[in-house]
């Protein structure tokens, strides 16, 4: 049974000056994004709708010489809004969204191999009084399954143009454009599913009671969506009498045999099936598809789990190994720029600001770009090919124990490399509370920026004199700490602050398809660019701030240091050149030493030893020269470092550090550690270089620390300096005892020292509240844990 629409006036006369607006609507996984990209090319921009977390995606399309504004609406299964985010889509099509023009045409993209379900959303769109064009996508997939569709007949039955397309192969796009151009300014769809008379009566009554303020579509939604957003909003606005009225109407409908929400599904699917009968021919027996075959393995109890673990392992490995060469390259570029600036500009605060504050700070963050890009790429591939849903399926039981759902797994896993892409990946989580809980615990997953600190401290304090496995075990324990606490915190949040109705898990497992390289690259580029922009602003600002606090007041230290350096400039240059010349041999010696240590047989051990001695012999003359230079440079370097240390101690940050010393003493730290921790709040990686400065080691190469294995670290200048460090007021006592080292690592494991992460949280939650909350709870947690570890550790040792 169909109902004719009243002759509708076109929603907006497309004046020649204004470009027509075309909205894309469709289920997830129907190729909507592919279509959007194909139509808009590279002209697209992403923005915000006020007050909600869903992003606006707009583009510009040219077809047959005409220009259109394209707007990509979020993928959805129905226009029954259950949250402010879902309401935005409805509002846009109704023309009620602030700041948005009502679309002139809605293009409903449907999957030809799953026509019935896809058309459900379309039938809702048909009621909204806007011209509709149906884009029938994936017709090749349908054919492969033996499904034949009589497209003209279908268009006749549905009452709107139906254009067959293959978005991924860019077929049919011209016809689609023409159909869209034709539909602009045309009539609203002539037919849509009719609801039973009792329902229409109740709707009319309710509409009369509500008056003109509520559009007819929303009156129907009010009646149909029990506990939906329309009901929530209108009851909040108009009071409980409305609730009572709606409740009574629903009761009457149930008695009349038209219970909500079933009446909607029945009416719509009934109409759809009638329309499809005779237009769609299917084989008598459903053929087995590739998806069926693959899923037999990929969701299988044993095989599926193994494949899943393999995929996750691959994800991780690729991040750590594939990113390495790029990270080295970025660090080299940063070093090159730093040298360039250092040599071209006169020494002074501005140069130092540029080199240390800006380059050093931004460099510390940009160096993660390769990891982030690889992670995004991997996630994009997994999502595009359809495996993501299987991952959520496999992990759901585990995640449900933590109060979350399977969809949180990949975001949390990604956060183990870097929380920024992990948090961005939470967009797939539809439930607002689940998403927030995942975002807020993501930074607890030990990210790669924490590695330099772990390696430094473990190397300096937990290797010599300790069993060989202790280093690895400690590293594992630190990772495990975050892994264990994250679900606990999530559970706590879901029981308290984020308490609410358990979300619906029902999830479609889309058919597998080859991921589109174009789409993946585009995702990678978009995310990478957004990350860089953030690094360019937030990080830059905070690093500059830290630099200022650490370097001022400067007094005459810069001059004195510069004078000292100038006095040995020649020697230093020569020494640098010599070191540069033997650098490959030094790396070779280190590599051979590593091989020697790990040699399996005595023979191999001897071979490596001999090789190492040979290389060392080659370097001998250069080393001798260096040694001579060092004898001149040594005392000057010491003086410079001492001055640096005095300078930093008297700086603002140094003073703050000394001020908070009583607070950090119970953790076993002294003021120097306090300063290093404070300085690393914008980017935790910075702690290593800051420790270097404060412990008079000059510039410490963090990259060197990251690459070193534990035994080597203990030998570096910083490693030794840390183990020799003593308390100011009690020189007999060593600062870096094992409990102190562990408490520092535990603090780093749990504290949110990453301005990038906080910026992303703010952006994804559209408010500062949750970013601030994350910062506060993690700092508190970190402090408490470090405190417990130190106190208990000292008691035990």
């Amino acid at each position: 049974m169909t109902s004719p629409s009243p002759a509708a006036v076109p929603p907006s006369a497309a004046s020649p000056a204004r470009r027509p607006v075309v909205a894309l609507l469709g289920n997830p996984n129907t190729g909507k994004t592919t279509l959007f990209n194909a139509l808009s090319g590279l002209n697209h921009r992403v923005g915000n709708y006020p007050g909600v977390t869903v992003e606006s995606k707009k583009g510009h399309m040219v077809c047959a010489g005409r220009h259109f504004e394209l707007i990509d609406l979020p993928g959805t299964y129905s226009l029954a809004p259950r949250s402010p985010d879902e309401m935005v889509t409805v509002n846009i099509i109704l023309g009620h969204q602030e700041g948005e023009t009502r679309p002139d045409v809605v293009v409903c993209i449907v999957d030809a191999s799953n026509l019935e379900r896809n058309l459900y959303l379309t039938t809702q769109a048909l009621e909204l009084g806007v011209p509709v064009v149906i884009a029938l996508n994936m017709i090749d997939v349908a054919h492969a399954q033996g499904i034949e569709i009589d497209v003209p007949a279908l268009a006749e039955r549905l009452g709107v143009p139906v254009v067959s397309i293959q978005a991924n192969r860019r077929r049919g796009l011209d016809e689609l454009g023409k159909a869209v151009a034709h539909a602009v300014g045309g009539a609203a769809p002539p037919r849509h599913p009719a609801f039973p008379p009792p329902f229409e009566r109740e709707t009319a009554e309710l509409a009369a009671a509500l008056g003109d303020g509520v559009p007819p579509y929303l009156v129907r939604r009010l009646l149909l969506d029990v506990g939906g957003w329309t009901e929530t909003r209108l009851v909040a606005r108009l009071g409980d009498t409305l609730q009572g009225r709606v409740g009574d109407a629903r009761k009457r409908l149930a008695e009349a045999g038209c219970p909500v929400p079933a009446v909607e599904a029945r009416s719509r699917y009934g109409w759809i099936r009638e329309a499809l009968a005779g237009c769609v021919h299917r084989p008598a027996v459903r053929p087995v598809t590739w998806t069926d075959r693959l899923d037999r393995w990929l969701t299988h109890r044993l095989a599926g789990t193994l494949v899943f673990l393999a995929v996750m392992f691959l994800l991780f490995q690729s991040i750590f190994t594939a990113a390495r060469p790029f990270m080295r390259w970025i660090d080299a570029a940063r070093g090159y720029l730093a040298d360039l600036i250092g040599h071209s500009l006169p020494a002074g605060p501005f140069t130092s600001l540029l080199v240390e504050g800006v380059l050093g700070g931004v460099g510390a963050v940009v160096i993660f770009l390769p990891q982030i890009l690889i992670l995004f790429g991997f996630i994009a591939i997994l999502e595009d090919c359809g495996y993501m849903a299987r991952a959520a399926f496999l992990m759901d039981r585990l995640m449900a124990r933590c109060g979350l759902s399977g969809k949180s797994f990949i975001p949390l896993l990604s956060s183990m490399a870097c929380a920024v892409p992990g948090i961005l990946a939470t967009r797939v989580i539809e439930d607002r509370r689940d998403r927030l809980a995942t975002i807020v615990v993501a930074p607890l997953m030990s990210c790669s920026a924490r590695l330099p600190v772990y390696i430094l401290l473990i190397g300096a304090f937990l290797t010599d004199g300790y069993p060989f496995w202790l280093a690895g075990l400690t590293m594992f324990a630190l990772y495990a700490l975050g892994l264990v606490l994250a679900p606990l915190v999530a559970l706590l949040l879901k029981r308290t602050l984020l308490r609410g109705q358990p979300p619906v898990f029902v999830m479609e497992m889309p058919p597998y398809k080859w991921p589109s390289l174009r789409a993946v690259l585009r995702r990678m580029f978009d995310s990478g660019w957004a990350f860089l922009q953030r690094a360019g602003t937030v990080i830059l600002a905070s690093m500059v701030l830290v630099w200022v606090l650490l370097n001022f007041p400067a007094g005459d230290y810069p001059e004195r240091i510069a004078a000292l350096n100038a006095s040995v400039a020649e020697e230093r240059e020569k020494a640098d050149a010599l070191r540069e010349s033997i650098a490959p041999q030094v790396r070779e010696v280190r590599r051979l030493a590593r091989l020697e240590r790990n040699a399996a047989t005595a023979d191999k051990h001897d071979t490596y030893q001999r090789q190492r001695a040979a290389v060392k012999g080659q370097m001998a003359p250069t080393l001798a020269e260096l040694e001579q230079l060092e004898r001149r440079l040594g005392p000057v370097d010491e003086q410079v470092n001492r001055l640096e240390e005095e300078w930093k101690r008297g700086s603002y940050l140094g003073r703050i550090g000394r001020l908070i010393e009583p607070v950090v003493r119970p953790l076993g730290w002294d003021w120097r550690i306090g300063v290093a921790v404070l300085a690393s709040f914008p980017a935790r990686e910075v702690v290593v270089s800051t420790l270097g400065i404060i412990y008079q080691q000059g510039k410490v190469d963090t990259e060197e620390i990251r690459e070193a294995d534990y035994a080597e670290v203990a030998d570096t200048g910083l490693g030794k300096a840390l183990s020799d460090a003593r308390f100011d007021d009690d020189p007999a006592r060593r600062v870096f005892t094992v409990p102190t080292a562990v408490s520092l690592m535990v603090f780093f494991a749990l504290c949110c020292q990453c301005a990038s992460t906080l910026a992303v949280i703010r952006r994804e939650t559209r408010s500062w509240t949750w970013a601030a909350f994350t910062f506060v709870y993690m700092t508190a947690l970190a402090y408490l844990a470090a405190l417990i570890v130190y106190q208990v550790g000292s008691l035990l040792s």
Binding site: S78, A80, L115, L224, D225, A262, T299, H300, Q501, M507
Partner: protein
């Protein structure tokens, strides 16, 4: 009441009714779970939960607790 979560893998069932939380019921219906339609149980995840079913042309996954809201009549 025989519910969907008890349908053995490979078996088909006819949907008799959907009960319980209105939001869940609405969501299931939107996805195509209608009284009188057929649904096929594909299987469970390795950890026992959630379940995967075939509904029309789609594969749907849902938790046992959600499947327990769908009364079905097993078909031979």
């Amino acid at each position: 009441m025989f519910t969907l979560d008890r349908l053995p893998p490979g078996q088909r069932g006819r949907i008799l009714s959907l009960t319980g939380d209105a939001i869940l019921v609405q969501r299931l219906m939107e996805m195509g779970m209608l009284e009188g339609d057929e649904v096929e149980m594909i299987g469970a995840a390795p950890l026992g939960d959630p379940l995967e079913v075939r509904l029309g042309d789609s594969r749907l996954s849902l938790r046992r607790s959600e499947a327990a809201r769908v009364e079905v009549q097993p078909l031979s």
